[in-house]
């Protein structure tokens, strides 16, 4: 007996087509908004002269790292190097893409994480979806993003948001669940409302864990933004891709180095942001 091939691929294609034709207008609207967000951020960051930007981000690193002078110096040097390599504009574009993607991922991920911690049903729906999202090779997200949003920064951002969201959800969920029972009892015993309990007890106590999620989310965003160059996202990733196509080791290496610098600086700053 021959079992007929189950048309999984065809079905997905069909569904994607359906969404494309029926929700095209909505998708365009979303696309415009996101594009605006990225461009605005990029323009704002580029508006600052590089010198001022470097001073600013070094100060941020200094204070975020609890007056860590080494971190500040390293940050200043790293960004000076980027400027020196002539990759300033591309780097800022990448940074804008990373930050707006991470922002969107957190905007969705943190509340979903809280819901998961509070509601067993939601948790049991979301958890397998997260596993699915994280095990699927990241390139696969590029295809629907490409179909729905065409080429450019926006589909890159969408793919990035999907890819970077799971740790934000997971760690927020974990953090809220791990709030000691006695502390939630304090909130209840003194007569807090549900919101008061969340805002004044659960979230502050869970903050270190949530910050770890935010850190991971930003790091994953950065890695995905580079890959998203394959569907037209600009910035350093595009430069790397360019280097690969032209087999230009120097070009690729310099862009790669700039990515590493941004990664390390973002990681250190967000790591230290969590109160301990």
């Amino acid at each position: 007996m021959v079992i007929p091939r189950i048309p999984i691929g065809n079905t997905v294609e069909f569904a994607v087509d359906g969404i494309e034709t029926h929700f095209g207008a909505v998708l365009d609207l979303v696309s415009d908004q996101l594009d605006f967000l990225i461009s605005a951020l990029k323009d704002a960051l580029l508006f600052l002269p590089p010198e001022l930007f470097i001073v600013g981000i070094s100060l941020l690193a200094y204070f975020a790292g609890r007056r860590n002078i080494k971190l500040a110096a390293g940050t200043a040097f790293g960004f000076f190097l980027i400027e020196n390599m002539g990759l300033w504009e591309l780097s800022i574009e990448t940074l804008a893409l990373v930050l707006s993607s991470a922002f969107m991922a957190l905007l969705i991920g943190v509340p979903v994480g809280i819901l998961c911690a509070k509601n067993a049903v939601i948790y049991h729906i979301v958890k397998p979806s997260l596993d699915f999202m994280q095990t699927m090779p990241s390139f696969v997200y590029l295809i629907p993003a490409l179909i729905f949003f065409g080429l450019g920064n926006v589909p890159g951002m969408i793919a990035t948001v999907v890819f970077a969201m799971p740790p934000a959800i997971r760690l927020t969920n974990l953090g809220v669940r791990q709030v000691p029972k006695e502390l939630t009892e304090v909130a209840d015993a003194f007569g807090s409302t549900g919101w008061q309990k969340l805002a004044k007890v659960e979230l502050p106590v869970a903050l270190p864990t949530i910050m770890a999620g935010i850190n991971q989310c930003i790091m994953l965003s950065l890695s995905m933004v580079v890959i998203a160059a394959m569907i037209g996202a600009r910035g350093l990733g595009y430069q790397v891709l360019f280097g690969i196509q032209r087999i230009d080791i120097g070009l690729g290496f310099e862009a790669g180095l700039a990515i590493v610098i941004i990664a390390v600086v973002l990681d250190r700053i967000t790591q230290h942001l969590s109160p301990k």
């Binding site: 209840d188 003194f190 007569g191």
Partner: protein
């Protein structure tokens, strides 16, 4: 204490499980807990608990680990939802309240202090204490003002801006207490509030809670697994076992009239000398002789009773004047002196509420029985060595009994040792002591029931002459010259309430 009922618990039952109603009906059928657990895999946390808590008292809920103390306490403010039953606070059933009403009751009537302090790590001391007021929407200035007052009450003035991590355990729990007090609730719920503290700090905190209770007059419901703590703090104690209340009573009732073998086993290891008071061990002061009567009357009374000394009192109020020795009475009869001239006016006196552990050294060093005298100077009773020993020995302690934490209940049931009154004493651990006690034949019936902490016995018996057969009788008559000496030894001055008349 006025006995207004502040909180009343009626038939509270808590089942942990998916289908509690089924368990309830099985309970009604009279099935045992283990049967029910086998059948349904549900735990019975509380089973038909009833009690009342009076306004202004400290009510201690005590029991072994897993007996349901925390569950019961958390039912009182519905941190745990009881499966059945009613909880009336000021006559209002909290189990029937809407979420909003419950919240208001928690805010205004019920404060809670937690075992592991449960302070919010991201807030300063002051912000922690102000939490309860903050969620009620009280403006910042006002709530910080009240929080400062609460901190002062618990002795933490000056620590307002400290971080929680900078505080020691004792200080943390003071913050916990201040946080509960800041709301000015009527009732404080305290779940093993001092269990996480070092013994010394713990004892300090207990003392402070008692003095606080005197000042602020809250109703306190205090959970403890430590009998000594329960006896020290509790106006009344409820003893729990397997989710049920086995006995409710004052500390003395629990010690002297244990309801069943579980309770007596539980209280076996306790140092009774700290709990029992002079009043509870004293005997009626009879006979005594009035100051206005002559030495002949006194002689007659002593002869009748076969005793060698007698207390002299004055007036209807039985004001204690002194003690008369038989030799001196004879002397007075011969020479025609008055009673007042020959009696010994300076004798040891103790107030009725003095704990036994303070009475013991006094009586050990005293030649006479101790007179228990109230503030007005009235002779209430006398304490002889025998009655102290008797009180300490009641309910039978055995030396190998573990602390109150881990009585071996299985063993009790098997050997039947502790059924009702205690069984015979263990010869190995107590043979020597028994010898001494038997020889002196003090309060024989009671002493037989079991040996006592050796230290206490040594304390009482070791020094001074052996007590005599008649509890009322007094130590050997002193020489004639002795009347001018204070009977108390020099090192006891100050401790003793010695007055010269």
């Amino acid at each position: 204490m006025n006995k207004n009922v502040k909180l009343e618990v009626r038939n509270i039952t808590k089942i942990f499980g998916k289908n509690p109603q089924k368990v309830i009906s099985l309970l009604k059928e009279g099935k045992s807990k283990s049967e029910i657990f086998e059948k349904t895999k549900q735990t019975i946390g509380l089973n038909g608990v009833n009690f009342e808590v009076y306004d202004g008292e400290i009510f201690v809920i005590m029991g072994l680990s897993g007996s349901g103390k925390s569950t019961l306490l958390r039912c009182l403010n519905r941190l745990i939802e009881p499966t059945a039953g009613e909880i009336l606070i000021d006559g209002q059933d909290i189990t029937q309240m809407s979420a909003e009403e419950l919240r208001n009751t928690r805010r205004t009537k019920l404060g809670m202090v937690f075992q592991n302090f449960a302070l919010l790590p991201h807030r300063t001391v002051l912000e922690n204490v102000a939490y309860g007021l903050e969620i009620q929407g009280i403006p910042k200035d006002e709530r910080y003002e009240k929080a400062r007052e609460a901190l002062e009450t618990v002795g933490l003035k000056g620590y307002e801006q400290s971080k929680i991590t900078q505080l020691s355990g004792g200080m943390k729990q003071r913050v916990g207490l201040a946080r509960a007090l800041a709301n000015d609730p009527d009732i404080l719920l305290m779940d093993e509030a001092f269990s996480a503290l070092d013994p010394l700090i713990r004892s300090d905190m207990q003392d402070e809670l008692l003095s606080l209770e005197d000042r602020v007059q809250k109703t306190i419901i205090f959970v403890s697994h430590d009998l000594d703590e329960a006896l020290k703090l509790g106006d009344r104690i409820a003893l729990m076992k397997d989710g049920e209340v086995v006995q409710i009573g004052t500390p003395e009732e629990i010690l002297t009239e244990p309801a069943d073998s579980y309770v007596s086993r539980f209280v076996a290891g306790v140092d009774r000398s700290k709990i029992l008071t002079a009043e509870s061990v004293m005997k009626r002061p009879e006979p005594f002789v009035s100051l206005s009567s002559g030495p002949r009357v006194a002689m007659q009374l002593m002869k009748e009773r076969g005793i060698s000394s007698i207390y002299v009192v004055e007036g209807k109020n039985r004001r204690l004047m002194g003690i008369l020795m038989i030799n001196d009475a004879l002397d007075a009869m011969k020479t025609g002196k008055s009673l007042e001239a020959v009696m010994i006016p300076v004798i040891p006196r103790v107030p009725p509420d003095m704990p036994l552990n303070e009475v013991i050294p006094l009586i050990a060093d005293s030649q006479y029985p101790l007179a228990v005298v109230n503030d007005a100077g009235k002779l209430l009773g006398i304490i002889v060595r025998g009655s102290v020993l008797g009180a300490l020995a009641i309910a039978g302690e055995t030396e190998e009994t573990g602390g109150p934490e881990a009585p071996d209940l299985e063993e009790t049931v098997r050997t039947g040792k502790n059924e009702g009154e205690a069984g015979p004493p263990d010869p190995e651990s107590s043979g020597g002591l028994n010898g001494i006690i038997d020889k002196d034949s003090i309060n024989k019936g009671i002493i037989d029931k079991g040996p006592i902490d050796k230290g206490i016995i040594d304390n009482v018996i070791g020094s001074g002459p052996a007590p005599e057969v008649e509890a009322r009788s007094v130590a050997p008559a002193p020489e004639v010259g002795a009347r001018t000496e204070a009977p108390a030894r020099p090192e006891l001055k100050g401790e003793l309430e010695v007055k010269t008349w």
